[in-house]
Amino acid sequence: MTTGYTPLTTPQFQDLLDIHGSNLEHWPELDRKAAEAFLQNSAPGQEAMRRAEALDRLLAVEMTVQPASRMLRDRVRALPLQHPMNVVPFRAPAKWAAPRARLHVPLLIGEQLWATGAAAAVAAGLLGLVLGIGGLAQRPSPDDPLNISELVFAVPDTVQQDMQ
């Protein structure tokens, strides 16, 4: 009759103790049967088990944590109130929408050409003015702790990793 498991050596038994802990009930079935058979005749195995049980007792005290307090539960429960979610906004049917105001400026062909050129000149002037003021303004130091562009556009790596 076969036992279904391979007999253990002391190093193998120690590795299994380190993986699963000293409570044999938590071991996979075949490993548990092999361990029970090994422990019956191995003094080093019994000593390893005794030390593993002692370690687990020490860890049990340290690793056991009190449940979350009422205060923490309330803090977490309040998160949706402090951070309203952007759910898909309600869209009114088109017939509800107010008619758009339209600018009706009757222009002749010649006037249209003139108006286009004037608009381009004004736009170029404004652009030059903005760039000029921008050049005179003091540039931010690279050490400046407040970098608005980073604040607006940075997406934390951890968030991207978390969502994968």
Partner: protein, 184 residues
Amino acid sequence: MKLPLGNLNDDELMAHVALGNKDAFAILMERHIDRSLAIAQRIVHNRSDAEDIVQEAFLKVWTWASHWRSGEAKLSTWLYRVTVNLCLDLKRRPTMETLAAAGEIPDPAANAQTLVERQQTDSAVVAAIAALPERQQAAFALCYSGNLTNIEAAETLAISVGALEALLVRARRSLRERLKDKLG
């Protein structure tokens, strides 16, 4: 007929959370907060920091719910991974020693010698765990404080079960060595 929210699984609740359902969020919180806190506290060794981390992890659940892809991963696995990552981020930041880390004030009514011995043992265990590399600490916290199976813990850390077991073996060997005078 609609099922009560409490009967829904995590994925179904996340679908409700994605629509802004606060009750569904509260149920998810009740299901997972104790385990998240246990994992966090065992990694950062500080109750206050652990509570802040748990709050931040649940904020991610709330704000990212609409991005949740049902069936691709277990919510618990994702939540515990977020918790572990937040803990490791915190541990990498240089911080000042906090009052909580200085230890609890002993109860004067208890036997003084027993208390001192217990505190020394507790301190030794805490120090031994804190001295482990962070991946070993995370594996230990998931399996011992979170009571996750090796398979669940491996999924949480995004590693193979074999790699997780290797972390546990190295961690216990290290602890056995550091705590040998406490093991009798």
